[in-house]
């Protein structure tokens, strides 16, 4: 299997959790075990869109219990004899191997996954991905020239991994408390993204675009926009070191004067 694999460096490893929720896209070659009409293959692929039931395979690191996953889209691309090429967008943790097996079952002829390439992992696409040998080359160039522009050829800021997570932007005065694990309250909020949903993972950000923490929204968009007090986000994973922003424990204290 090949394709997009985001590798988090050093402190950035804390954002890995956000990537698991951001969805994936693959291009897959499925091999049918007998000939089947193209029209049927197209139809069955469409049937697997939306919720599917899967149990992780024997060789997996997760508990082998039946679970649901969402297939956002499964688009037939082309067919050559018994080889079917299709593109699939899905939730993280969806087993494409199992999808191919199940498609084969529904078709009646049986099928297996022949080849898989990941074309997207969250916000990261094939376009812009870097190969291992390019990585080694550019790293050596960077060590030699110490030019940070070279560094940017193969490394992105960890905040880019949060591009698909709904963002909550907060005041400077609210930052340090969140770094200590404090829950975010309504007065600290400056803006939110409309894709925010109560109960979902959100990224708490500063006005400078730095990631402060990952949390879970405990209010919906309307509530957050209109509430004067109360908790709006439960902090779950602090990303910014304490003390980056000044401590402001007293409420109402402005620090930009």
């Amino acid at each position: 299997m090949t394709g997009v694999l985001p590798v988090t460096l050093g402190e950035a490893t804390k954002v890995v959790q956000a990537l698991l929720y951001s969805g994936k896209e693959y291009v897959c070659v499925m091999k049918l075990h007998a000939d089947a009409p193209e029209a049927c293959v197209r139809e069955v692929l469409k049937e697997f869109e939306d919720l599917v039931y899967q149990r992780p395979p024997l060789r997996s690191s997760v508990k082998r219990q039946l679970r649901t996953r969402r297939i956002y889209y499964s688009d037939f691309l082309e067919m050559d004899g018994r080889n079917v090429l299709f593109r699939v967008g899905c939730e993280g943790g969806t087993y494409i191997r199992k999808l191919c097996f199940d498609v084969g079952e529904v078709l009646g002829c049986g099928a297996h996954m022949q080849e898989l390439r990941r074309t997207r992992a969250g916000p990261f696409l094939e376009d812009g991905s870097v190969a291992l040998h390019d990585l080694a080359y550019w790293f050596a160039e960077w060590e030699k020239t110490k030019d940070d522009k070279v560094l940017r050829r193969f490394v992105q800021p960890m905040e880019n991994a949060l591009a698909l997570i709904p963002k909550v932007c907060i005041r400077d005065s609210a930052v340090d408390a969140v770094c200590y694990g404090a829950r975010l309250t309504a007065p600290g909020v400056l803006s939110i993204e409309s894709s925010l949903v109560k109960g979902s993972i959100v990224a708490i950000m500063t006005l400078k675009g730095e990631a402060v923490a990952l949390g879970r929204a405990v209010a919906d968009v309307e509530e957050i926009m209109h509430l004067e007090h109360g908790v709006v986000v439960n902090t779950e994973r602090v990303l910014m070191p304490r003390g980056t922003y000044p401590r402001c424990w007293k409420s109402g204290e402005k620090i930009n004067d």
């Binding site: 985001p6 590798v7 291992l132 400056l190 803006s191 894709s195």
Partner: protein, 78 residues
């Protein structure tokens, strides 16, 4: 029939509740991090080759970049 929207297809609008300024005295824009600081808060969008597991490839990245710790976002294995 509308199907479920993928996270990258969702419409995202910015809803502003209040305005405030940010002081240049602390914190910095992620793009302005320097050298080791930028690297240690960075992500590599790697094109994984066939053969090794995702864990092995991440370990290679760690060795190439001379780092203490790396992680990866989603296992890609056979």
């Amino acid at each position: 029939m509308p199907r479920t929207v993928a996270p990258w297809e969702a419409k995202r609008e910015l809803l502003v509740k209040a305005e405030d300024k940010t002081s240049p005295k602390y914190g910095r824009n992620p793009e302005d991090r320097q050298a080791e600081d930028y690297m240690l808060h960075g992500v590599v969008n790697l094109d994984k080759p066939a053969g090794p597991t995702s864990h092995e490839v991440a370990a290679w990245v760690k060795r190439i970049l001379k780092l203490q710790a790396v992680g990866h976002g989603g296992t890609l294995e056979a």
